[in-house]
Symmetry: C2
Subunit: 219 residues, 2 copies
DNA sequence: TTTAATTTTTAGACAAATCTAAAAATTTGT
DNA sequence: ACAAATTTTTAGATTTGTCTAAAAATTAAA
């Protein structure tokens, strides 16, 4: 398995929750910042290797083998991110690019020992679940902040966008995993919200609220 | 800088202590388990990029830029090896191949923090010095065990061959960094030696003795 | 439903890194 | 010093992964 193939599998894996049928060529191309023609070529090759199913113009869908492999890469990515934050003093907005490199390192023992060193963490620094050794992924029950109504309260358990600009925006407002967020007010026409976090109030856009996940808290 | 280029630089760096002039094409090819023709091509490309000096049939010699880059790779390799042994319970014969992958990860901060986590180690698990941030390499004074005379004593400070078969051979005889070794007898005709380590006596070949470094101990 | 817009695929080219086979240069042995 | 052996380079082919431009298929719109 080449580095490039692994990246394609991971991308298809990440995108296929948003598509009932196959993941469109263009979606993959956009996500990977490459051209549709390159994707078309590669998808065809991966299909030959039976890592995914593919019919012309119908997009891509991971096979069982392909998914197994993709989950392994995701597990490694998230464990490395956790390592960087927990052991090497990185902040959550700095780890993605480095984990993108580290996720391709091959060694069963390495990843097993890393998991042990970190105390078998369940989620990464962005709240995403870390698949276990057998590839099982725990599904965390969570709702988008944007769906919360005025007066509701929740604990931040994850983000949808892990870009450093967004994560730094959250830092600025002291939003982090585990923080309690209260919706003080909600603007109907644009979906913007007035929030309270740590006794501090501020306003966020609907776009931002669409990238924050909360777990409802019984308060 | 591609992964392949980096590997060539590192190999030339490692080999050039053994050659006064340029490192021969064949020596590089053998070390990298590739063909001389491939080496010839790549060397030419690296010379164009001014990472090394090269004249036809005269072998390769790193430029200052090339050496700077090579040392960085070596620093990363040795820090990662130390990490694997110190933090992830690897033994010294298991780390080479994984460090070979990890040495190409790009991130200044990562390597700085790794160094800190490990307590700024001076040598790797095989006794090789870890270059500092500025690329300075401490030269450890050491002699080959094969050069020791009957009755002499030393402390093991390094090995020349880091292959897992050799390292496992050393483990079997309880030879490790820091161990005191006494030459009880030396066979003139084949250079084999009778050693004492931990009050245990055994015999090793000249080939083995040529791959163990000791620091003379004033006893 | 026929055209227009969009998406996807194909064809052909290219750069990186490698290989084999053969030619050229250098070194060694007598 | 000359021939033989060895080392190194060149020439040409191959694989992987990418790209551009153009053709084909699908979807959307009038």
């Amino acid at each position: 398995m080449t580095l490039s193939e692994e990246n394609y599998l991971k991308t298809v894996y990440n995108l296929q929750k948003h598509y009932k049928k196959g993941v469109p060529t263009n979606a993959i191309a956009e996500e990977m910042e490459t051209k549709a023609s390159s994707v078309s070529d590669m998808i065809k090759r991966l299909a030959e290797k039976e890592l995914l199913f593919y019919k012309k113009y119908q997009g891509a869908k991971l096979s069982e083998t392909g998914e197994k492999h993709a989950v392994k890469v995701v597990r490694k990515h998230r464990l490395w991110e956790t390592f960087l934050v927990e052991k090497l003093n990185f902040s959550w907005d700095e780890v993605h690019d480095i984990a993108e490199q580290l996720e391709h390192i091959e060694s069963e023992k390495l990843i097993k020992e890393l998991d042990k060193l970190l105390g078998y963490p369940k989620t990464d620094p962005h709240g995403d679940p870390i698949p276990d050794e057998d590839g099982n992924v725990v599904k965390v029950e969570k709702r988008m902040l944007a769906e919360f109504k005025k007066g509701e309260q929740g604990v931040c358990v994850g983000v949808n966008d892990s870009s450093s600009s967004f994560l730094q925006y959250l830092d600025k407002h002291q939003i982090a995993l585990g923080k309690v967020i209260t919706v003080k007010d909600k603007e109907e026409f644009d979906g913007s919200m007035q929030l309270e976090v740590d006794h501090r109030e501020f306003n966020i856009s609907n776009l931002a609220a669409n990238n924050i996940y909360l777990k409802t808290v019984n308060s």
